[in-house]
Point group: C2
DNA sequence: GGTGAAAGGTCATTAAG
DNA sequence: CTTAATGACCTTTCACC
């Protein structure tokens, strides 16, 4: 289940320089080629590394506005609502959560005005009782994983 | 600012098969290698592609519990709170938002019990007036970008 | 450790806005 | 005229056996 210190250093290296090769990585880590290859294979096989997909910035493709919407769902309508939300391209992420609301989703839009259109499309569905939206103003900490990897692998702070 | 249809197809291809090479991509897209290379360079230079960092699953490294916390911040304490939150490895993402709360953050933990420890660490800071947490039960739509890329580039549905 | 393949760079030519 | 695509060539580097 866990990852060790070498896994942590490898992940950190890959995050810093994603286009690094196995050979170069083995040099930086001070281990044999085969070791890096085996670790990489294992990390992918166990699902630690889901993939290396391009990290696309929604703002850079014309969607600079982000918002989080909490949706209250009518009992028994969950599956239908999920299917509906999945068809909205501006809906980037959907969670079912505890608490007063039932679902939390991340939305993007071309502008604040456009956000209204997106929200209308999202909530324009029977089964959604109520929606409350919070617009993102700043993003002081963009989605990150390295600090957690350090924690999980027992790495110290500082570069590794 | 925007991206065209070829950019969209390239991003889609990269998302599908992240380890694809420039040469193979050029074959699949039916354009010259230099074209793919130029598009890739431009997409990265303009910030559309932030990087190709490994997509690490927090659950697979021992943090299967996800939660969203809304924090109400005392006026003028924003910067200090941000700095504090940034030191918490289990805090994966931080936004400042409109609405009743002032900040929204994504947290992970080793268990529901461990989440209490994380929350205590997060809110154990002067400047945070109140916190409300929603635990994620399911994630029907994990963070995705391709549908938005299609929308932005004018691609039709279906594979491409 | 060797070998075939691909990445990355440059260039001149050509097409399209 | 400016921008982009193309195919060619070359060198270094890597992945695989």
């Amino acid at each position: 289940m866990g990852i060790d210190e070498l896994d942590g250093r490898l992940l950190h290296l890959l995050a810093d320089e994603p286009r690094i090769g196995v050979l170069e990585a083995s040099r930086r880590l001070g281990v044999a080629r085969g070791t890096v290859q085996a670790r990489l294979d294992r990390l992918q096989a166990t699902g630690v590394i889901r993939g290396f997909g391009p990290d696309v910035d929604p703002a850079a493709v014309g969607y600079p506005v982000t918002a989080f919407a909490t949706l209250e769902i009518k009992q028994g309508q969950g599956a239908d609502v999920r299917a509906h939300l999945a068809t909205v391209p501006e809906m980037l992420e959907l969670h079912t959560i505890t608490g007063h609301g039932d679902m939390l989703c991340r939305l993007v839009a071309r502008s604040n005005a456009d956000l209204q259109r997106v929200i209308d499309r999202v909530v324009g569905f029977t089964g959604i009782v109520r929606a409350s939206t919070a617009i993102v103003m700043e993003n002081p900490v963009p989605l990150r994983i390295i600090p957690l990897v350090r924690q999980a692998s027992g790495l110290a702070d500082g570069p590794g």
